[in-house]
Assembly symmetry: C2
Homo-oligomer: 199 residues x 2
Amino acid sequence: MHVSVMFSGGKDSSLSAILLEPFFDVELVTCSFFLVSVEEVAARTAEKLGFSHRVIRPDISVLEKAYEMVMQDGFPKNAINLIHKSAIEYLVSDERVAYVADGTRRDDRVPVLEMPDIRSIEDRHRVQYMCPLRGFGRAAVNELVKQHLVIEEGLSEDVIKADYETELREMITQRHGPLKVKELFPVHVQSQVISRSKA
Amino acid sequence: MHVSVMFSGGKDSSLSAILLEPFFDVELVTCSFFLVSVEEVAARTAEKLGFSHRVIRPDISVLEKAYEMVMQDGFPKNAINLIHKSAIEYLVSDERVAYVADGTRRDDRVPVLEMPDIRSIEDRHRVQYMCPLRGFGRAAVNELVKQHLVIEEGLSEDVIKADYETELREMITQRHGPLKVKELFPVHVQSQVISRSKA
């Protein structure tokens, strides 16, 4: 069985792929609007992890809509969820995709698909959506990451990751300058995956 | 890392153990009040799956409390959840247990631990509680079961499984006869795991 795992180059999507690996033929998929070369960062990480990788490019109107949303809301949660949902919709509109997965954990709030969205996507596209980490809490995920991945941590401003936030921040920087980004996005610690653990 | 997986001999707990197997040292644990020899059924299935197995025996007062609950409620949901929670509490009070898992799926309602209970158990006992199937829908679970397990299906009255329902039904049968059981428990299709798939 073949599964497409939404991949940001971060530890959660990497670990999700590793958990599925014994049971599925895993392909990593990164969403890019080509505003920042996030797809190149993701491709390099995917190669180090030993997974095949491809890039999807939904229409730029998705990022525009998310931009309007974050400007109106004053915080990025809904905007990021919108991009995530749109990226998955885009991916599964490819009829060859039967299983799609992402790195959502038990305690995650963003990006998270709500149950009505999951059911709607599964029914309309005849796919199965899976979150291998959905039943794992923070400490269990951290322990599994420690066992299987080498990571580097830094503040979200400094780490280039192939997540939705990166391009959303870039669009706002281009239009309003970096101060606006600082105002809208909370600074948080991001992780970047370097490789698999040797052990 | 060592994990104790709550095991009923059914397909969900079996599949959960199989999903954890590449990442953890798996032990199956069956709860029995020794009213029915459910622990023997479970031990046989565990052996066929190739996992180590042990039995826990919480105090019979747990089953008594569940019995009172189902008689008062008129349906078994809360009673079964009570036994499940009590069994996990009993298991993790053993200080050697650091990771505990069960077969809860995305769409399950019984038995399911609620988030406040999960947090409370994790904090008080310094354990991590994991549900490997929590992020998987029905069709994905069925496909994984097909790939990895040989199962037999039957009505809940005919299949002897090491689940909480079996002993609760027996206690009610002993005290009120089989008709009372039919009145309180919906008849549903149960699965019994025979072995792993050869493929």
